[in-house]
């Protein structure tokens, strides 16, 4: 009997045929290229159809095997339900993963000075952006995915041609750069400079076509008055204002024209690590070391929902498709070795956006998740962790068919 492993899910038709030939029911299964009989205990469990908590895992295995073993004219296929792609493009902790607007590209940035870009459908790496001399802390992709903007600890920001990886422009600053963001018309960018020696925390808004003040160009609009580093900047799509999330736990709304502070909301008691837009730009979500993620209304800057976790939250993302919120985090990197991986809380946790209840967990990383993001179609998510791996998950049909109410 020839065997063949195939990726993907069986269609209903195929499953029907499998049941007709009876291969799935008889407990034969192709397991990593080898044809094996199902262990007896698994079979009896499957027959009983009822499981106790201790055997939940076995039961789940059985369920998958039964669903996946399909016989077609003497060939047994194993359909693999949800096996994420592991992208090992970096050697140091990840700082940011970001899909482009259409979701076909996945950009990753890490402390190892390079950015990578992958096809999100296959996990194939297309290219790297090499040129920075320090950890890359922030990046942004423009609307039509032609330009990539990166900010690095080497006190420069760079603009790249996304398709070829060539650096088009470099801006120099006097302190490491933490967050970068394209303005809505892509002629403007904002850059946050961290506290460094005599330099105070600054957000600079400058025109992309011009070099900045340090390089002898026009003096950009400068915003000061932050207590701690600004870690994320989000532009409202109309260009009316932008949001700056600071490590002191506050999110500030600034007028993009004048640079004046419109509203500052103290959302968290500890560091904010991540801030992402929700669908339709009506809400944003912040992730903080104080073990919560908060969903905030953009207009009123009021906290609408709070998602609680047992460990610090380093990243949070809102599903564009279903009423879900995904939280990533874990024990602080310097304390990881003091506890077991199981207690580290390195799973990505799915919450219901309105009920704030935990729906499920996705295992995989063995270090804290530094950054994660839903793909724009909501069918995938990418997570990057302290251990240097990016995991690109594609949700299985159960995720979409489940009743969440």
């Amino acid at each position: 009997m020839t065997t063949l492993a195939r990726l993907g899910r069986p269609s209903g038709d195929e499953l029907g045929r499998a049941q007709a030939t009876g291969a799935a029911g008889k407990g034969w299964v192709l397991w990593f290229g080898e044809l094996r009989r199902l262990p007896r205990e698994l079979k009896t469990k499957a027959k009983r159809g009822k499981h106790t908590n201790t055997h939940t895992y076995t039961q789940r295995v059985v369920r998958t095997i039964r669903a996946n073993a399909v016989a077609l004219s003497g060939i047994v296929y194993l359909f693999i339900a949800m096996r994420p792609m592991i992208l090992k493009g970096h050697e140091r902790p990840l700082t940011m993963v970001k899909f482009n607007r259409e979701g076909d590209l996945l950009f990753t940035a890490a402390k190892d000075k390079v950015c990578n870009v992958f096809f999100s459908s296959t996990g194939e790496r297309i290219g790297t952006y090499v040129g920075h001399n320090g950890s890359i802390w922030g990046m942004d992709i423009n609307w039509d995915s032609t330009r990539l903007l990166t900010g690095s600890a080497d006190a420069t920001a760079k603009l790249w041609d996304a398709a070829s990886g060539t650096c088009l422009q470099t801006w120099e600053y006097q302190a490491p750069i933490r967050a970068v963001a394209f303005g809505p018309d892509e002629q403007v960018m904002s850059v946050s400079q961290v506290k460094y020696k005599q330099e105070e925390v600054k957000v600079q808004v400058s025109r992309i076509s011009e070099p900045n003040a340090v390089a002898g160009g026009a003096s950009p609009m400068e915003i000061t008055g932050f207590k701690e580093n600004v870690v994320r900047i989000l532009w409202y799509p109309t260009g009316e204002f932008f949001l700056a999330a600071s490590e002191d736990g506050s999110v500030s709304k600034y007028d993009a024209e004048t640079g004046s502070l419109i509203h500052r909301a103290q959302l968290h008691t500890e560091k904010i690590h991540d801030m992402q837009w929700g669908n339709m730009y009506a809400h944003f979500i912040t992730a903080s070391t104080d073990m919560t993620a908060k969903l905030v209304d953009v207009r009123s800057m009021e906290v609408l929902k709070v998602y609680k976790k047992e460990t610090p939250v380093y990243s949070a993302s809102i599903s564009p498709l279903l009423p879900h919120v995904l939280l990533g985090g874990g024990q602080a990197a310097d304390q990881v070795t003091t506890t077991s991986a199981a207690r580290g809380g390195f799973e990505a946790i799915l919450y219901h956006v309105a009920y704030q209840t935990e729906l499920g967990r996705v295992r995989g990383h063995f270090g804290p998740i530094n950054t994660l993001s839903f793909s724009p179609n909501g069918k995938q998510f990418a997570s990057g962790a302290e251990e240097g791996y990016v995991r690109l998950h594609t949700f299985d049909p159960e995720y979409f068919n489940r009743a969440y109410e």
Partner: protein, 320 residues
């Protein structure tokens, strides 16, 4: 030149067959490929492939990006996944769903039942222990007597040997063997001392899970068993590792010793020996020589109970 030709010839002779693709019925393709492995063996690989073509709708931008050539570190790499960069997870990662409570109830019912039963068992054990302590406090031998005491009867009437000893000396504790001596003669204690233990065997290294029934089964082939005593932990009810089995005849006990000493039972090896010898050596030599020069070692079981009794008395003081 000739050598070269000869080498060429050999190459020709061992040239691997070409890749063969045959299309079978039901749309399957059979691909036969030949390759040479590390040990210089020719390997034939047969794959059965079903090709599926599906079309997806992409935006113009996406289509353009699909044509991108690789750049940066992966420049000049062929199309497809790079080895060592993009790998599929070996483990199947499914979402660990949090099941709502009402779904869970049905499944955990059995567990709840088991837990409840265990609780009841624990409660009963604690109850039994408490009752035994009360009995000891009151200085009576069993529950029926305790009931009688609480109903108004005097302890001495019920248990003349022990009662007289304890009552006569007031608060001072007197060990059972001394009580017997002071009482002067044939009280309850000495009656027990008369028990003959020449037919008793001591079994040690008994596995913790063993019960009296197990011992009965194990020892009954050698003769009719008079009595079995299995020492148990008071709290857990598990065996403490030794037991006494009394037969009617010495010959039966001897047979048991002969057959079962060194016999593997569960995961341990049993040790079976004469009860009298061991007990005399271990527990009573000192007591006997100190206090009664002409002492004849009594039945082992009684003396094994002595340390237990001390323990329980101390417990009583701390508990109540």
């Amino acid at each position: 030149m000739a050598a070269e030709d000869w080498a060429d010839d050999e190459d020709d002779e061992f040239r691997l067959p070409p890749r063969e693709v045959t299309t079978e019925a039901n749309g399957l393709k059979k691909v036969v490929e030949w390759s040479v492995n590390d040990q210089h063996y020719a390997v034939k690989t047969t794959k059965v492939v079903r090709e599926e073509k599906s079309s997806i709708v992409v935006t113009e931008g996406e289509y353009e990006r699909m044509q991108w050539k690789k750049f940066g570190s992966c420049k000049n790499q062929p199309r497809g996944l790079e080895k060592g960069i993009s790998t599929m997870s070996v483990d199947e990662i499914l979402i660990d769903w949090v099941t709502p409570k009402d779904e869970e109830d049905d499944e955990s019912e059995e567990e709840d039942q088991a837990k409840r039963e265990l609780d009841i068992r624990k409660m009963l054990a604690a109850d039994r222990l408490k009752r035994r302590m009360e009995e000891r406090n009151a200085g009576v031998g069993n529950w029926a007597q305790l009931m009688a005491v609480s109903a108004g009867a005097k302890v001495e009437d019920l248990n003349p040997g022990q009662g007289a000893g304890a009552g006569g000396k007031g608060d001072k504790y007197i060990p059972p063997w001394q009580r017997n001596r002071e009482a002067g003669a044939a009280g309850a204690g000495s009656a027990m001392n008369e028990r003959d233990d020449s037919t008793t065997v001591r079994v040690s290294n008994v596995p913790p899970r063993t019960t009296e029934a197990d011992l009965q089964e194990l020892f009954s082939p050698f003769g009719r068993i008079q009595r079995i005593f299995l020492s148990r932990d008071r709290v857990t009810g598990e065996s403490k590792g030794f037991a006494y089995v009394a037969y009617n005849l010495i010959s039966e006990a001897a047979a048991a010793i002969q057959r079962l000493d060194g016999h593997g039972y569960d995961h341990l090896i049993l040790r079976v020996e004469w009860a009298a010898d061991t007990r005399g050596r271990r527990f009573n030599k000192r007591i006997a020589s100190d206090q009664f020069p002409g002492y004849v070692a009594p039945v082992a079981i009684l003396h094994l109970n002595i340390p237990l009794l001390f323990l329980s008395l101390r417990d009583n003081f701390t508990c109540y």
